[in-house]
């Protein structure tokens, strides 16, 4: 069986939402597909918007973007590295470790806010 591991971690209040576990990797699965399949298997709530490259996670298990401040939100890492690609367009390899992490503060987004306007 081809599989990847997936885990979901919230902020300090939520703690670990989904412990690291194996999820079957089907043909053409993206990180987004894997996340939704894992959450549904554990009866967790989520809210997303868009699809394909525009897929975006607003909230998981009642923990939503902006809950901890203007730059807080959900990010994902593959094998410990944050990729600059949308979760709906990245197709992981078998054996990859996918982590979804709620970041209370995103320095990049904060700097962007300061200079972007």
């Amino acid at each position: 069986m081809r599989a990847v591991t997936i885990s979901v971690a919230g902020n300090s209040e939520w703690g670990e939402i989904l412990e690291s576990r194996f999820v079957e990797l089907k043909d053409g699965d993206t990180v987004a597909d894997l996340l939704i399949r894992a959450l549904k298997a554990s009866k967790l709530a989520y809210e997303t918007s868009g699809s394909g490259a525009l897929f975006y996670v607003r909230g998981i298990d009642g923990l939503f973007e902006f809950d901890d401040g203007p730059t807080s939100g959900w990010h994902y890492r593959v094998n410990g590295k944050e990729l600059g690609v949308g979760a709906g367009s990245y197709k992981p390899e078998p054996g990859d470790a996918i982590e979804w992490i709620y970041e209370s503060e995103d320095p990049a987004a904060r700097d962007d806010k300061g200079t972007g306007t």
Binding site: I36, K40, K43, L44, A45, Y46, E47, G59, D61, G62, L63, F64
Partner: protein, 297 residues
């Protein structure tokens, strides 16, 4: 019923405080049990004022809005941590269902309150309150508020008259119906424009706008108004203090709290219900007085 009886006889300022407080706390106290109690109180006032006639005429659109909120909120919002089931890939959470239900309750309660507002706060009282602050604005609001019911009345009359001549939107081919409908709307517009011209002429003939406006103060602030406004303000202060201390609000997101009422919730509910039932006190008081006078005569 007459303007000099019961809650209708209260001073406009007192009624304004009643409705301002009722609406404000109807939005602040976001707890289904409290809103249910408030809804029952507002309904009791409505039924006492006109046996629920105007409430019944609004009940269908109200039920529609309630149903819409009940269904739509769980479909749009997926906040909350307790998943009931998945609709395809859409999680339906207990919390968003509870939030939708509370919002629907809040809506139907506030609308019920507004229906009694329309019965108690007559045009006279409205003008008394706002004509001195801004006469133009008050006149504009009065005319705009009266416009839709007036148009409806006229349209109904036109339809009944024109049906005798065979002009109707309920029979014939689509084209005929459309033509009849256009003719009805055209007559309605002509009628309304002509009426506006006549109103303007009539106002000019009476000298409207030739000088500073004077006002005839029809309402006196009586002892009963003093008593009532003191009671309302005291109740508002108490409810606000309870709310500021965290009472009267159900915690819904991220996890639904217990529906059981805490001490502060219960106190807020009782004071709020008493606040909302204020008009009934004067209705009952005047009614019993009237009975006593009649039996004495």
């Amino acid at each position: 019923m007459s303007e000099g009886f019961g809650a209708r006889a209260l001073h406009p300022v007192v009624l304004l405080v009643y409705y301002a407080g009722g609406i404000t706390f109807g939005m602040l106290l976001f707890h289904p049990v409290i809103l249910l109690a408030g809804w029952a109180a507002a309904l009791a006032v409505n039924f006492h004022l006109d046996r629920g006639r105007s409430w019944r005429s609004w009940s269908l659109p109200m039920a529609g809005g309630v149903l819409l909120l009940l269904v739509l909120n769980p479909l749009i919002s997926h906040r909350g941590r307790t998943v009931w089931f998945y609709l395809g890939d859409t999680p339906i959470t207990l919390e968003s269902v509870a939030y939708g239900a509370t919002m629907a309750l809040s809506l139907s309660f506030l609308l019920t309150l507004f229906i009694s507002y329309r019965l108690l706060m007559t045009e006279h009282k409205f003008l008394f309150l706002f004509a001195r602050v801004s006469p133009k604005f008050a006149l504009l609001v009065m005319m705009a508020a009266g416009l839709i019911p007036r148009l409806r009345r006229r349209m109904y009359e036109l339809m009944r008259i024109q049906r005798m001549r065979g002009v109707t939107v309920s029979e014939g081919t689509v084209l005929e119906r459309a033509r009849s409908g256009a003719r009805l709307v055209a007559s309605l517009l002509a009628w309304t424009l002509e009426d506006a011209l006549q109103t303007a002429d009539s106002m000019q003939a009476r000298g409207y706008g030739t000088g500073p406006r004077s006002a005839y103060l029809h309402f006196r602030f009586r002892i009963r108004d003093v008593v009532t406004i003191c009671g309302l303000l005291a109740a508002s202060g108490a409810i606000f203090a309870l709310w500021a201390g965290g009472g009267g609000v159900l915690e819904i997101y991220p996890r639904l709290g217990s529906l059981a009422l805490s001490g502060a919730d219960r106190a807020a509910m009782l004071i709020y219900a008493a606040f909302l039932l204020m008009p009934l006190i004067w209705e009952w008081r005047d009614r019993s007085k009237w009975q006593a006078l009649r039996s004495a005569a």
